[in-house]
């Protein structure tokens, strides 16, 4: 990934403003590339190719296709260490979410999140109401859970997720 050089003539100059116009990503403008995010990232530590600083710089340069089609943007563990230590208060976790949303709209999304959302639309939670755990709860004298998630489906549709159709399987 990211092994092939990309000519600057192929950069999409509008990409950075497209990303940063989302309020959650506007702070990226202040990034001066110190790499504190990468230094504190637990995923980077076990998989050095995943590099928040590199992704931030690629967004700023306009490497639209390389960023949005990359499985790496989905590798964040959501620990928030990057923003916790950023000297410029960039919320890179939120920037990544904006990138993931854009990627999903273009058909790049891991099927796990799409399947999970379909499940939530059906039952209100990310799991089906399996007989096995319904019984376990009875044994433990825990209250039964009867939510059918009727409003979950509507709410998810308001958020536009139902329009997302994956064309790439990352797993």
């Amino acid at each position: 990934m990211f092994k092939q050089p990309v000519s600057s003539s192929d950069f999409d100059r509008n990409f950075r403003s497209e990303v940063m116009k989302h309020p959650d990503a506007s702070g990226l403008n202040a990034c001066f590339g110190c790499g504190t995010c990468t230094a504190g990232c637990p995923i980077h530590e076990v998989f050095p190719e995943y590099d928040p600083r590199k992704l931030a710089k690629m967004v700023k340069l306009g490497m639209r296709k390389q960023v949005l089609s990359s499985p790496y943007i989905w590798y964040c563990a959501t620990c928030h260490n990057c923003e916790q230590h950023c000297p410029q208060n960039v919320k890179f976790f939120n920037v990544l979410n904006v990138l993931k949303n854009m990627a999903a709209k273009e058909g790049y999304a891991p099927s796990c999140w799409i399947q999970q959302t379909e499940q939530v639309a059906k039952t209100g939670i990310v799991f089906s109401t399996e007989e096995k755990w319904v019984k376990k709860r009875e044994e433990l004298l825990l209250p039964s859970l009867k939510s059918e998630g009727k409003d979950a489906k509507k709410i998810i549709e308001f958020g536009g997720i139902n329009k997302i159709k994956p064309k790439v399987n990352f797993e």
């Binding site: 260490n81 939670i125 799991f127």
Partner: protein, 291 residues
Amino acid sequence: MNKYALFLGCTTPTKVPQYELASRWVCKYFGIELIDIKDFICCGINQVNLSIEAGLLMAAMNLALAEAKGLDILTLCAACTGALAEAIEKLKDDTTKNRVNEKLREVGLEYKGRTRVNHISRVLYENIGVERIKKEVKKDLSGFRVAPHYGCHYLKPKSAFEGFEEPDNPRSLHQLISAIGAQPVNYEALDLCCGGKVFPVSEDLADSLVQKKLDSLKSKRIDAMVLQCQTCYLMYSDRQKEINKKFGKQYNLPIILYPQLLGLALGADPVKNLGLNLHTVSVDKVLEKIA
């Protein structure tokens, strides 16, 4: 106020019911009333991946449901806590709140901005308090060494928790452990993430994080890891056997949720009240030591 809407989330009631069992027992013990709201849905934390707006709407819907009953929310899951707290922070902006409420009204709800969210550990720490807990302890847990694990979303983003903790040097779980006479043990990977949120995308990445944490605890002579989120529990307990196979290790570390440890100290029945027989890594050694 000692009455909360109990936000179970998705994973606890279905995969780690012992956490729910122990939490309900502990709350009852301290007179914290928990109200079940059947229309609660998933907090939306993973939907943010596909649509930030959908995630926000889901969180806001849950907040509005509790608010309609005049209640604050008590959570068990660190991630739900983070998702709801982040939504509250975002909804302080009137433009955002109005946009969200326009949609919520279509399901008969509105979020005015009153309902707050607190994780059970924070309620125990702030509302019940370390001193009260100390007075209630019935079992001797001295000599019991445990590694605390806070859970990322319990602490971060810092802005969403109004200065509750310093994420780089958290203290509340340490103090809750000390309060019952056990010894919280510091270790290098204290702030290392459990990997639960990347597990659906990449098991290998998540397992690597788990292995690093378990490894950093190896030389610490601890009796158990104590945590406060069912997803962290699943990663460290349910994955442990698999991690042993994958990395050629022999970890055998009991993983306990804080309300279970507290329940033990308060004299609760380990099986009936705390579900300690349901653990994937046996906690028998722990129980022997306490008895």
